[in-house]
Symmetry: C2
Amino acid sequence: MRKTLIIGCGGVASVTIHKCCQNSEIFEEIMIASRTKSKCDKLKAKLEGTTKTIIHTAQVDADNVKELVALMKDFQPEVVLNLALPYQDLKIMDACLEVGCHYIDTANYEPEDTAKFEYSWQWAYREKFEQAGLTAILGCGFDPGVTGVFSAYALKHEFDEINYIDILDCNGGDHGYPFATNFNPEINIREVSANGSYWENGHWVETKPMEIKREYDFAQVGKKDMYLLHHEELESLGLNIPGIKRIRFFMTFGESYLTHLKCLENVGMTSIEPIEYEGKQIIPLQFLKAVLPDPASLGPRTIGKTNIGCIFQGKKDGQDKTYYLYNVCDHQECYKEVGSQAVSYTTGVPAMIGTMLLLQGKWKKPGVYNVEEFNPDPFMEALNKWGLPWIEDHNPVLVD
Amino acid sequence: MRKTLIIGCGGVASVTIHKCCQNSEIFEEIMIASRTKSKCDKLKAKLEGTTKTIIHTAQVDADNVKELVALMKDFQPEVVLNLALPYQDLKIMDACLEVGCHYIDTANYEPEDTAKFEYSWQWAYREKFEQAGLTAILGCGFDPGVTGVFSAYALKHEFDEINYIDILDCNGGDHGYPFATNFNPEINIREVSANGSYWENGHWVETKPMEIKREYDFAQVGKKDMYLLHHEELESLGLNIPGIKRIRFFMTFGESYLTHLKCLENVGMTSIEPIEYEGKQIIPLQFLKAVLPDPASLGPRTIGKTNIGCIFQGKKDGQDKTYYLYNVCDHQECYKEVGSQAVSYTTGVPAMIGTMLLLQGKWKKPGVYNVEEFNPDPFMEALNKWGLPWIEDHNPVLVD
């Protein structure tokens, strides 16, 4: 029996596990492990009877390598799919090396106390994974993840050389609340209040938070304001796409969302410095999280679509060429299928696909790799099959 | 020795007590009583040596009539100046009646659980005070307070009949924070999120919160946006100014202030419904108060001026006439003089003046009265003497 250990049981993990259970030929036996076992048990109870996949659950503290090792030794998985917090990536990689499991995740490691996104920590594991004959696949969600696969696919089939990539992440969903965050608000808020940056001519160009704003007319969604953010795939694509001159990442935010966020920041409600309240130390951001709608509660009420993709500019047969690859995903359809809206869906499905390709041996080579370093074709085929079909546009509107 | 009991020791009380101590001929002996005796002791320590006024302090729970009565019986004050919370007015009036003390306050009673401002509860005490031969003066701050005195003065000296009054309360101060409230944020927020209303032709006209907005160019401050609010003096002036057709109250708010307030309301941070947080029931608005700058800390850093006054329109000798009476108060000068900025100063000084006039017998008549029911002349004189000089404008710009 092929065994997969999935660590984490939040919104994304729930989608991935639903999809694994739709794909029992590959995911014959899975173990769901998280800090709160009752969440895993609840999901197991929901899925059992609908799938041939055998589901186990366990409690694990992903910060504790010993606990992780004990769990892996007991369950003996081929691969560990890490859907826990980004703070825990290195601990889980350590445990994989100790036990001898392949590794895959969706978001790069960051230290808990600094909002610093970079691959250096995980890339430092290359030799260890190589020597152990193990594969580690980094950042296999949508962005990073599918955006890297799109880039590899474009390079393989459409271009001789790609010079410019603009990654456009649009969420045209409406949950009906004046303000709510689609996933952990802490991570949302960190992302928006950090400096932006893009990759140009071999180095980073830094911007102030939300300094660069563009409007774009997204297919099936319409016109949205989008802002240049730093995003982790810029770092790996900058190295892995030969001939690249510039890569940028844009994400849409509504004016109201940004105003709320700014006001909350101004009054100190997004601070992670604890304050004394009635004899208790309380972190304002944590209290804000408790006041805001639970991201998990947004699923049933979110309508509209996401549109995420990459606009490529480069050369083919000596000619300038542009090419846009994107996916459109409907919040309500996702919710009907797996009980989560499109933001979780678009991350959770690629995580299942990457794990599948690793188990099938199609994406397996000793070392630590980003997704664009593998053959994109089986992944592109799987996207169409497993709920994230892609659309090509050979004449897209470009971003200034 | 003439004795005055002052209940409360917040920002306004601190100003009033400073001014009483500048006026030791009238305020020979005072007792400062509040829930937290250490605050009273601190103020006493600051003032002793600078004044001939004898200062006592005491702990009292102003919600507890028995405690209040015991304190009054012990100290034997002539008058009780209530600068505690508006929720406590009736308890303090009950105690005054029981012991036989005159009463004066700055804000009308409101039940703690509803944002309902009206005089009915206190006016119901008229007969009791009359029969006891005691005077109760209601609402003797700036607005209500000086605005009523201005109205009585205008009626006495400038008009045969006043038809329209617009009360304009402008705070042109800047504390340098993106958002902070000048006094208890809970009361600030209640005021702004309540429906507005004005008095017209003998009845109330209700508006949505902040529905009516005007720009006005305030002397010594400049152009500010102001919004129509309900305010308690509209109720008493509507009854006490014969011939009145309309009274409105406008207060200035900056756009940024209102945006912050709206966002905080939208996310639930101004709610008074407790939420469960780490096993503790926490009221979001109370937690917000703890995160925001302490209003008392704004004093040293607030610059700029307030401009509060009344624009009257009516008839004199058969002719139409307009008349504007206002005071301009400088935040930094107030802070230098009494350690509080102008918002507390403009309320605290009139409270001292009203109490003085009561002690002098100039504003003494058995019953319950609003300030406009007394002779305005000695009060107007005292305003000039005690730090709130007024300015007349016989040709003001009117509000639409």
